[in-house]
């Protein structure tokens, strides 16, 4: 029978930041790595869905930080990990917001990134045993 000390030792072995990094790079992948298939699939669907809708609404992907608001937007967008890199490379999203839905789309993209960071931290907490 595994004791609490055994579980802590098991949870603490290996590279504990791997789920955090993988989860940040690919939405839901941190949970998949920990064999939390259902949670990972729901998180991936939610974050990918939000990001895709943001792109489909012609939301703006922040490319640089010219002022504090741009910096905050860029920080949020970077939370999307590889999605941000691929989207920038493919030229998706708008450079300038010209329609109302584009403004909503920009928020969807930023919030998708922030939700992905929350999901990645959750995967880290599962890995360290802080959360069941």
């Amino acid at each position: 029978m595994a004791t609490t000390q055994d579980k802590k030792t098991e949870a603490g072995s290996g590279f504990v930041y791997l789920p955090l990094i993988v989860g940040w790079l690919v939405p839901g992948a941190g949970h998949f790595l920990l064999r939390k298939w259902g949670r990972g699939a729901l998180l991936a669907a939610s974050i990918l869905g939000m990001f895709s809708i943001g792109i489909a609404m012609q939301g703006k992907l922040y490319a640089g930080a010219h002022d504090i608001l741009d910096f905050l937007g860029l920080a949020g967008d970077l939370g999307n990990g590889l999605l941000y890199v691929v989207s920038r490379a493919a030229g998706w999203g708008a450079d300038q917001v010209t329609v109302t839905t584009g403004d909503y789309g920009t928020r969807f993209l930023v919030v998708a990134g922030l939700l992905n960071v929350i999901a990645a931290v959750d995967a880290h907490n599962l890995r360290t045993g802080r959360k069941a």
Partner: protein, 59 residues
């Protein structure tokens, strides 16, 4: 180009955010579902209440 109405955008936003909040903020599946539903209702409900407030103020 995808052009949802304001309300549809609110519902989509609330849905995705609530799923992530529910999964990450609670530990058991039952509590995750309950917290997700709670967040969804708060998101959509507060948007409706604020919209009516702005409508009445603007009159």
């Amino acid at each position: 180009m995808f052009r949802p109405s304001h309300f549809a955008a609110v519902v989509l936003f609330a849905l995705f955010a609530s799923v992530v909040f529910g999964i990450t903020m609670r530990e058991t599946p039952r509590r995750m579902v309950r917290y997700g539903l709670y967040c969804f209702v708060l998101f959509v409900g507060s948007a409706i209440v604020l919209s009516w407030l702005m409508f009445l103020i603007a009159r």
